[in-house]
């Protein structure tokens, strides 16, 4: 197996035998004014531009198209991509994960999250309203990263055109539909702010007297 370069190797900018860097073969830059003039003239009259145009034209008539037919067709997005937020529910029980701690509201660097909370009938904290102004959001992911409950996460919906600059999204819009949560159709969230796969090994066990 190929030995992966170590971090040290990457930091080593000395171009030498065995290092990760090497020089590429390239034409030498013109040194004198005359040489530069010559380069401009040859490049202009060699019609290099039409070489590229010809390739496009040829491929067009061959109908062998590789581009994605957006918006009819969309590419899958990487799990760690940070697009419009989603609010998760707990599996099986379907309970909303958000506890209304307000950390996302606090950490948001563009100050676009706002929430109202109250005490509910069971003496628990309840979120009554929650909005994100997507017109301001810079999709930095801080909210998802700080959330202690893995409640707010970034989903894959990257389209958010709107007629107005201020463009709000509410709690209900982001919330996973209840039936999906209960029927187990939601996968464990792999994206930004999720726990790392080997988290269990790192957790210290607290003694419990039961």
């Amino acid at each position: 197996m190929r030995k992966l370069p170590s971090l040290q190797d990457f930091k080593d900018r000395n171009v030498a035998e065995g290092s990760s860097y090497y020089n590429i073969d390239g034409e030498a830059y013109p040194e004198t004014g005359w040489a530069q003039f010559k380069q401009v003239v040859t490049r202009t009259f060699r019609l290099e531009l039409f070489v590229g145009l010809w390739v496009v034209l040829r491929e067009m008539f061959k109908f062998n198209i590789h581009t994605v037919q957006y918006p009819a067709e969309k590419l899958p997005i990487g799990p760690r991509y940070r697009a419009v937020h989603e609010m998760q529910r707990l599996w099986e029980s379907g309970t909303e994960r958000c506890i209304g701690c307000g950390l996302c509201e606090k950490i948001c660097i563009s100050d676009c999250i706002r929430m109202d909370t109250k005490i509910d009938e069971n003496s628990r904290k309840a979120v009554t309203e929650y909005t994100i102004n997507l017109g301001r959001c810079i999709f930095c992911g801080y909210c998802a990263e700080v959330c202690p409950e893995l409640a707010i996460v970034h989903g894959g919906r990257y389209e958010n055109v709107s007629e107005q600059r201020a463009h709000y999204i509410g709690f209900e819009d982001m919330l996973t539909p209840l039936d999906m949560a209960i029927s187990g159709k939601v996968a464990e969230y792999p994206g930004f702010g999720a726990v790392t796969p080997h988290e269990d090994e790192r957790v210290k066990v607290t003694p419990l007297a039961y």
């Binding site: 307000g102 009554t128 210290k204």
Partner: protein, 748 residues
């Protein structure tokens, strides 16, 4: 002076001061968890341990007084280990609910856990279910309680309700209401304030906002003359109310200052208006030009100054009977004491060992004075003599002696008191003659204050060094108020007593000093938070709206004779008094431009508003704003002889608000909602032939009032309490507080 060293730094202090206090004064940090400056040490956390040379083991710095030559070490490996262990114990099974806890971000347990880097729990204890208690305005979660005892200490030693206690049961220990199923107290909320964790929380505030989202606006309480320092905590109201601000709660610098429940829970009295009413504004200008303004003392010094300027410029009359009475009282007092102001302060009361209070139901008139007396009783063993016609259950475990006098007999009682206290002093011949001429037999018989009671009072004073005499609002509105004041002035001048005069309303003292008031007369008058033909009101029921006291900046003159600033907590977009003044040709850009123009001749300073400090900071005493200067005046007061004491027969009512209620402002507060009732004892009910829940009607002063009668089992005697806070614009304590009335029953 005691000289010693802390971490090699030499420090000095008064004898008896604790090591912790000295360290704090010298900016040396010692961690604490259960310490409260204003109570005796709870000594439950042991976090404040320090090492002292030559002393075996650790010393609790919050408790141990400094000793000459001691070498104190506040940081060492063993101390650190000890403190880490303490924090580990605190954290065992502490619920991991910081995410929702109200205290998060301002929690001592959170802070110290991080400070000592306790990241894991190594011990375990079997947890048990602990029920959350709902005690009205307070919720208690025993699972969060760390049993620091601050709440019980403050309730007992500062408030005086002594309403909560610690139930000791090992791991099941918790805070419980004392001798009662549920909490039955005056709901000052101070226990909420001192709780280092989220165990005691305000039920109204709980889970509505995080500490870090709230901006703190330093201000002065607007409800009584103590004008306690507080912070309005403000945030946007909700997602649905765009641009609307709201006060979520009130907090205080609880280490040194104390709030009552009115200050803490009655904060939402702002006058919410939408836009300016130009027509009403022009109407107000015309109305003012007609020649008189009647106003209440619920205004700032600056507004009083504007009114005074209006008087000077337009020649209008200013009516404020309550402040006029007070001003006359102070003048008469000065005419025998030689000083324009009384000399006692709340701090003086706190450190007194003998206190006489007369003419006030103080626990509801001015809770700050009550708390100062409680502190004196608990910390200095002060012997308190409480003189009043109605016994007050709230003062029962604070006052040592209760002297009951007949309603109306205040002048006689004051004469007897002055005679007792001035005995053996060298006095002017005229004054001696006054006392010699007193008809003691008559006075004692009519006032019902006997010789033994005065002897007992005198006995209470033996071997006491710091004494305070507190005079209440009953005396100020008395028909013979000036003679009473002259007698009090003599006591101030000739004895060790320092006198405090409790002003009846928030800024009565300021108004009485700033405004040149006129005798009340009928005819056209503009009312400013008072009745009138054209009403300017911050209560929201007048012809032109005015900003409330939490929507204004300005200053109040407090009971401590301090000029303290208050700030704008909520925006106001209507007209203010200064706009009216400008339209009338009295020019100033902002109301606070008048702060530096307050009259120097009566003791104000020329300080600009922005130079005034609004917070306590690290000072142990109130250092807000500045102190008024007392002016020396000539002693030319002549006592008039005490002839006949008025008699009050039949059904007598006393103008007195229930706990936490003061003005239409407190009435507005959503947390204090309750119906204003006429409250009397069972004895009163029998005498007046009333039963609980009866609807009654009677004339009180000039006002016909309809009320529901309630029997209050905590009351004794035959005088009923008639509230005034709900009377809106008519609510002003300007006449004698007791009145004989004819009550007619109109239903039940």
């Amino acid at each position: 002076m005691v000289n010693f060293t802390i971490n090699g730094q030499s420090v000095s202090c008064e004898k008896g001061e604790t090591i912790l206090n000295v360290a704090r004064k010298n900016a040396i940090y010692i961690p604490t968890m259960c310490y409260l400056q204003k109570t005796t040490p709870c000594a439950s956390c042991r976090l404040c341990s320090v090492e002292a040379e030559g002393v075996e083991g650790f010393v609790l710095s919050c408790q141990a007084p400094a000793i000459e030559g001691l070498c104190v070490i506040t940081e060492s490996d063993s101390l650190h280990k000890e403190r880490v262990n303490i924090m580990k114990m605190y954290d065992v099974n502490h619920p991991l609910e910081c995410g929702v806890c109200d205290k998060s971000g301002a929690c001592d347990l959170q802070n110290k856990t991080l400070e000592f880097n306790v990241g894991t729990q190594e011990f375990s204890a079997k947890d048990q279910h602990r029920k959350i208690e709902h005690w009205g305005r307070i919720n208690y979660d025993p699972a969060l309680c760390i049993l620091c005892e601050k709440c019980t200490h403050v309730c007992n030693e500062v408030i005086g309700d002594d309403a909560i206690d610690l139930y000791f049961g090992g791991y099941g220990s918790k805070v419980i209401p004392k001798n009662s199923e549920t909490l039955d107290c005056t709901f000052c909320g101070e226990c909420i304030s001192v709780c280092p964790v989220g165990a005691l929380v305000s039920s109204d505030f709980q889970y509505t906002a995080n500490a870090w989202e709230l901006s703190k606006i330093p201000a002065a309480c607007a409800h009584c003359s103590a004008a306690c320092a507080l912070e309005y905590e403000v945030k946007h109201e909700s997602i649905d109310a765009i641009g609307q601000e709201k006060i979520y709660r009130v907090t205080n610098d609880f280490e040194v200052n104390t709030l009552c429940g009115a200050g803490r829970f009655a904060y939402d009295f702002e006058n919410r208006i939408y836009g300016k009413d130009k027509e009403a504004f022009l109407g107000a200008i015309e109305a003012i030009k007609k020649g008189a303004i009647r106003f209440s003392s619920l205004i700032t010094n600056e507004e009083a100054m504007i009114l005074q300027r209006m008087k000077e410029k337009l020649g209008i009359k200013l009516f404020n009977q309550e402040a006029l009475n007070f001003s006359k009282f102070m003048k008469a007092y000065g005419s025998t004491s030689g000083q324009s102001l009384y000399s006692a302060t709340l701090e003086h009361i706190r450190s007194s060992d003998a206190i006489v209070i007369i003419g006030s139901r103080i626990a509801t008139d001015n809770p700050a004075v009550r708390y100062a007396m409680t502190t004196a009783a608990r910390h200095k063993g002060a012997r308190i003599t409480y003189m009043h016609p109605i016994e007050d259950a709230l003062m029962q475990n604070t006052a040592k002696q209760y002297v009951k006098y007949e309603v109306g007999a205040e002048e006689g009682v004051m004469a007897l008191l002055a005679k007792t206290l001035l005995e053996g002093k060298t006095l002017d011949s005229e004054i001696s003659a006054f006392f010699a001429e007193l008809d003691l037999g008559y006075l004692e018989a009519e006032s019902n204050v006997g010789d033994e009671e005065m002897m007992q009072l005198k006995k209470n004073l033996t071997r006491t060094k710091k004494r305070t005499l507190i005079l209440g609002a009953d005396l100020i509105a008395h028909a013979k108020a000036e003679n009473i004041a002259r007698l009090a002035g003599l006591i101030e001048k000739h004895t060790e007593f320092k006198v405090m005069i409790v002003a009846p309303s928030t800024n009565t003292l300021g108004v009485s000093l700033i405004c040149d008031l006129d005798e009340e007369s009928e005819g056209y008058a503009v009312g400013y938070n008072a009745r009138g033909e054209f009403v300017l009101s911050s209560f929201g029921e007048g012809d032109l709206d005015m900003p409330s006291l939490n929507q204004q900046e300005g200053t109040f003159t407090t009971i401590d004779k301090r000029v303290v600033p208050t700030n704008v907590a909520l925006p106001y977009n209507g007209y203010v008094l200064n706009d009216l003044a400008n339209a009338l040709g009295i020019r100033a850009e902002y109301t606070i431009d008048y702060t530096s123009q307050l009259p120097y001749s009566v003791g104000f300073e020329c300080n600009a508003f922005d130079t005034l400090n609004a917070r306590y900071g690290n000072a142990i005493k109130d250092s807000r704003g500045y102190e008024l200067k007392s002016i020396e005046v000539t002693c030319d007061g002549v006592l008039s002889s005490v002839d006949e004491l008025p008699e009050f027969n039949g059904t007598v009512l006393y103008a007195c608000n229930p706990v936490l209620q003061f003005t239409p402002n407190t009435q507005k507060a959503h947390q204090l909602e309750e119906e204003a009732c006429l409250r009397g004892s069972e004895q009163f009910a029998i005498a007046a032939k009333l039963s609980d829940g009866d609807r009654v009607e009677f004339d009180f002063g000039t006002l016909r009032q309809k009320r529901i009668f309630k029997i209050d089992t905590a009351l004794k005697g035959t005088i009923a309490l008639n509230p005034a806070y709900d009377l809106g614009l008519a609510a002003m304590v300007s006449s004698y507080r007791y009145q004989s009335v004819k009550i007619s029953k109109v239903g039940s």
